[in-house]
Amino acid sequence: MTTSTKKPRVSVHKFASCSGCQLAFINMGENLIKLTELVDIVHFAEAGPLGPDDEVDISFIEGSITTPHDVERLEKIREKSTFVITVGACATSGGIQALKNNADSDVWMRSIYAKPEYISSLSTSAAIKNHVKVDFELWGCPVDVKQMLAVVRQLLYGVAPLDINEKVCQECKRKNTVCIMVTKGEPCMGPVTRTGCGALCPSFGAPCYACYGPAENSNVKLLGERFIGLGLDQNVVKRKFLSIHNATPAFAEAKLLWSDTEGAQQ
């Protein structure tokens, strides 16, 4: 990356999002001060440093692309960055707001805003990789501090970060969490969801809702059929996949698999 005398330069950019993934930096506590000893943070508007157009070694990007101006900003960031890393569901898959991609967003805008003509907005919410090359993706809604620190450390040592895309189920087995789908009939998304959260929801007795996105080899069809077997309505099953990661190809398959029992009219 850089010569050994110079600290790597890092920036944190935000697009359409809830700001929750930036908190993975801000919630580092004393590790944040330690991090600033290891790298130079040249742009991170929420924390203070401002240098959106500076050349950097790593750009962390939160949020999805929803306006024409976003596209220009993003292309400039890509030009100035050696590595681009997306953090969180919005940047990595378009986020929950990509639900508007399936709808008539004009109708939606008119129903929320009395004067929609003031709004400059694309009709879609897109992942960063739909517009520029992405070097590494951190999944999760939200991402976890440990994931973030691990990636920074790996890059500082010049190692390619490891992509962990196994299923939440594996994590439950390692933690000795009793399967809540098998024992309680809970419609748990664990069998199609990538781990990284520590299999949190099942350990609370709550069904996983797939906030980390699809795992490798996700069998959406069979899991959905199992949910229907548990007594869930087709439309409810479809909505379980079309949630935070609705724009991922794996989960978007749900749109074709299950009909909309109430009709799609708005």
């Binding site: 929750g20 508007a45 929420e46 986020g95 805003y113």
Partner: protein
Amino acid sequence: MSKVNYTSPERDIDINVPVMVRVEGEGALEFTAREGQIEKLHLKIYEPPRLFEKFLEGQQYTEVPTMAARICGICPIAYQMTSIRAIERLFGADPGPWVHDMRRVIYCGEWLQSHALHIHLLATPDFLGYDNAIAMAQDHPETVKRGMKLQGLGNDLLTLLGGRSVHPIGMRVGGFYRAPEMREVSDLIDRLEDAVEDAIGLVEWTAGLDLPLDEQAFNCVAIHNDREYGINEGLIVSTQHQQLSFDDYNQHFKEHQVKHSTAFYSTLGGESYFVGPLARVNLNFNQLPPAVRGLCRDLGLNFPSINMFDNVRARSVESYYSIVEALRILKNYQKPRSPYVDVTPRPGIARHATEAPRGMIFHQFKIDGNGRVETACMIPPTSQNQGSIESNLKNAVLKYGLENTDDDLRMLCEKIIRNYDPCISCSTHFLKLTVHRQ
């Protein structure tokens, strides 16, 4: 920015801060004046709209807290709690005293982390002359470390009941998915007790800061409850002695768009009003426990206060309160038979308000007989403070004088905006306005 006639208040002033730093989300400051008259002065919000209220239509009531939380990563509990309570009240569910108490604990966690973050990372660098907290930490390492410790403790309170601090997963309609084990609670009690001194130190430190004076006679609005410091239940009260139930919200509060601004503005009885920590402490000081009131008295912190910058001190007072309150509840902790009650959907309008870290938040959902959402409306605190932020900027700039340099005027405006801790990511009601340039 021309500085040629900088001492002349008649000069053309064009101050444009395209990216406001140290605020949550994306906002800009726009300020123009001609011949001694302010033409335009506001916080412009350009965070793109995310249309959450439409996503919620057709969803089962059980999905609402999870999805609504995604509006804001800094105050997810506010969104989860407000929607959960609205739905429970419509369904006629009473989760009982254990759930009531644990909900106070988790909200105390959210207040503590949000307040500590705002005080140390966002607000005080302004008053001590630093660009950011990292620079401030070089000269004030113990202060910044104490702030981060308190922020971390707030996050751990959230994690105890919520599983994680950002978008917690522990709450549900009816209560909590899981009750913490005694040993988890005991560990946290030790840490809370250890942090009491830190919190007192924080209140003392903010009391001693040389903060500017910015007096505004705004109508403060907060949730009030005679039995406890208002967080989740009570009535909406104001400085002007209004008293409203949550169900009467729509009759008195209105939202509207204005031509020159980018966000919805809320009014109460046709006028702008002020929500947030200072509004709460002003209206509910007597509900604070004796230890907290006593400390304020000893330090000469007098509430109600109309100095807007006392918002920083109100945040430190509420940080201390959050620790005292969490300790009070957790010291009597017992595992319940069940951490939640079952609920049965009923059709109707669900409404509720709670106190988010940065002020009151209101939710309303129309729900059908199958427990599905027909329409949703969520009004975040920043939308409610828009009118006051704008008046505050104008009043303060006129008082300060247009003869000051552009840099000084800009700094003043930025300080005023940051003082409200605007949460621009809560963009349900916010929209992007095309920029008008001559």
